[in-house]
Amino acid sequence: MDFTLTPEQTSFRDEVRSWLEKNLPKDWDNRMRVGSDVPRPEVYAFLRAWQRKMYDAGFMGLTWPKDYGGRGLTFMEEMIFQEEIALAKAPPVLNILAIGMAGPTIIAYGNEEQKRRYPAKMLSCEEIWCQGYSEPNSGSDLASLQTRAEKVGQHYVVNGQKVWTSIAHQADWMMLLARTDPKAERHKGITYFLLDMHSPGVTVKPLKQITGDSEFNEVYFDNVEVPEANILGGLNNGWAVGMTTLMYERLALGFGLQVRLRIALDGLVDLAKRTRKNGARATEDPTVRQKIAQMWIDTEVFKYTGARAITRLLKGEPPGPEASAGKMMWTEGHQRLQELAMELQGPYGLLARGSQWAVDGGVWQYSFLRSRANSIEGGTTEIQKNIIGERVLGLPKG
């Protein structure tokens, strides 16, 4: 056990640190980052430019093979990079679904042509990706999905609907799960397609969320043609491919989310130090101190549980229970953090963006509301617990 960095790792860290010092956007507003998880629509253009800058500096896709636009390093460098991102409170990565999910899946399952075509443009943010999994009648029970793809000549023709599709209105590509064999057992008739969102017949309708923003969408497919060459990982093999995506999602979440939680925690501590409660500083209130200390502890615990998962991964062991638990830990922690930020504000918590009295321009009200989605998106907490119960603990299926 050793938490010190090797000389090579130290020099990598210094490289990242000095780059961030020089290049962190000066106009990156404190009020935009406390939300900590998903970027708001109004900053998409800004974040696209930021990701491109990180890509040009060689910091995107650290663990991806060099041939496909990455840097061929290990998860250790990725972890060091993420740590520095947190310390610098840098903006998040916009194309996170591509980098966290689609890219690793294509690298794992794609043919050479696919691997050369897609991943690099994900890293540079030239092509934004969304995830076409959930449907109106298929959420947690994903294998019941109804969107169909029928073979006509050299194409598959897609009809159906996806929903809760984050960033679809900005996306160039979609990881699409569609049913290609309706007669097969439900897990076996699904194929994973790489779908061009600019294809004729694709309609994206933004959904207004409880935040008032529209970051996710309904996506309709009306006889959309997808070339056969855009099948990933083989016909009717989509369930296995899709689950790989989810595994990477959990890993990516375990990494990146710890960082965003750290940034949010720093924002919370800063807020607490500025807040007065009952005539004294809020940080003098024993209850507030207890709650913030617990957040601090949970954030650190989350980091070290993540570090154990990385160690296993580097030893060539499959992701262990630590990785599976990451998503639900983060969810619970982040929601509690946002609740605490609201609690600190007391009656000011009632005021939203637009009021000159609103604390930090009302950003906490947004991030508080947004955090409600955390326990639903990317697999509900209930589904995560099923996965842990069944696949890690070996409990029988219901």
């Binding site: 101190r289 617990q294 650190e300 070290y304 154990r308 617990k385 119960g389």
Partner: protein
């Protein structure tokens, strides 16, 4: 960077697992906890033969010279088996205090005997005020010619009744702060005027005592280090002992989870194993998260202690705060998911449940450590 155990540590774990399975199964634990000593000479000898009583004692004093990360592995296994007896007090309290604060002569006299199992030691630190900080140490040691005289009461002293020597935290002067003026003395248990009373405890696997000092005279050779400078080494001992306790708690929590999962797979209700119901499955998943997180922060704290990094005390408090809550939750959920059988004396769960509660309040509970975290991060 590497957050895993090395081969020797993994070997220590499997050796310890086998050892306690063979030597300290549930029947043995129950016999030991019902007796006043919590240990048999035979088992104590075997622990010594494994080298474990001297695991963190330096080579030159007859030990293995290993660190907290190694000890954590062993403590996890001991917690898994809820091993009773004075191992913890001898190794992590009395022994560690002599190692941290003792004079060369004291180390020479005691450490080899502790490592070989020929002697036992403990730490008499808290008083009836149950104040965990430096200001809780009020027992006066009055200077007199050739030594000091101790008067007062120490409480919650682990295994004083079976110890040969006690490290006693006293106040020899009033300083500018509570931390100043504390002196440690190494006091033989058979000193005149020293009385030990064994107290009935809810967790019978851990024996606690009241120790009273009535004009206990100690020679100048009993003073450990500088007079008045006892707090810093004492604080280091308590921090290390806290990490050891956290590891023991992790091992116990893992065992409760294992027992509960096994039971949930075989116990049928409404024609299905109860583990197939989400009401049970989700609770088990929560238990797993608690257990894994407890290990992560405990391992980190152990490493931080071994390396002496500045963040050490913060890591310790984060660990104790987290693990105190986690073990309580896990052991409680274990009883709940077992149903009525989990509430019986016959089932082993109560051993863990009681150990969890006892450990929660040993060296500061979660609330106490959260406040310490708040202070250490300058909140």
């Amino acid at each position: 960077m590497n957050f895993g155990f090395n081969e020797e540590q993994e070997l220590l774990r499997s050796t310890a697992r086998k050892f306690f399975d063979n030597e300290c199964g549930s029947e043995t634990v129950r016999k030991l906890m019902e007796g006043p000593e919590g240990m048999t000479p035979d088992l104590w000898k075997k622990l010594a033969e494994q080298g474990w009583l001297g695991l963190i004692v330096p080579d030159e004093h007859g030990g293995m010279g290993l660190g907290m990360v190694d000890l954590v592995v062993l403590m996890e296994e001991m917690g898994r088996a809820v091993v009773p007896g004075p191992f913890f007090s001898t190794v992590l309290l009395g022994g560690l205090a002599i190692l941290e604060a003792g004079t060369e002569a004291q180390k020479k006299a005691w450490l080899p005997r502790l490592a070989s199992g020929d002697a036992r030691a403990t730490l008499a630190w808290m008083e009836p005020t149950a104040d965990l900080g430096a200001r809780g140490i009020t027992l006066p040691a009055t200077a007199k010619s050739g030594g000091h005289t101790l008067n007062g009461t120490k409480l919650f002293v682990q295994d004083a009744h079976t110890a040969d020597a006690l490290v006693v935290a006293t106040r020899t002067a009033t300083g500018n702060s509570a931390e100043e003026g504390i002196s440690l003395f190494l006091v033989p248990k058979d000193s005149a005027g020293l009385t030990v009373t064994l107290l009935p405890t809810m967790d019978q696997t851990r024996k606690l005592c009241e120790v009273t000092f009535k004009d206990v005279a100690v020679g100048s050779d009993a003073l450990m280090g500088q007079a008045g400078s006892g707090w810093p080494p004492l604080a280091r001992v308590i921090d290390r002992a806290t990490v050891g306790l956290c590891a023991e708690m992790c091992g116990g929590a893992q065992k409760v989870l294992d027992m509960t999962v096994e039971y949930a797979k075989i116990r049928q209700a409404f024609g299905r194993p109860i583990g197939s119901y989400q009401g049970v499955k989700h609770k088990a998943a929560d238990m797993l998260v608690d257990v894994e997180n407890s290990k992560s922060i405990t391992y980190y704290a152990a490493w931080a202690m071994d390396e002496g990094v500045a963040e050490g005390p913060l890591a310790v408090s984060m660990a104790k705060a987290y693990v105190s809550d986690a073990y309580r939750r896990v052991s409680g959920a274990g009883i709940q998911l077992h149903g009525g059988i989990g509430f019986t004396w016959e089932h082993d769960l109560h051993l863990y449940f009681k150990r969890a509660k006892g450990s929660e309040f040993t060296f500061g509970d979660a609330t106490w450590h959260r406040e310490r975290v708040a202070q250490l991060v300058n909140l």
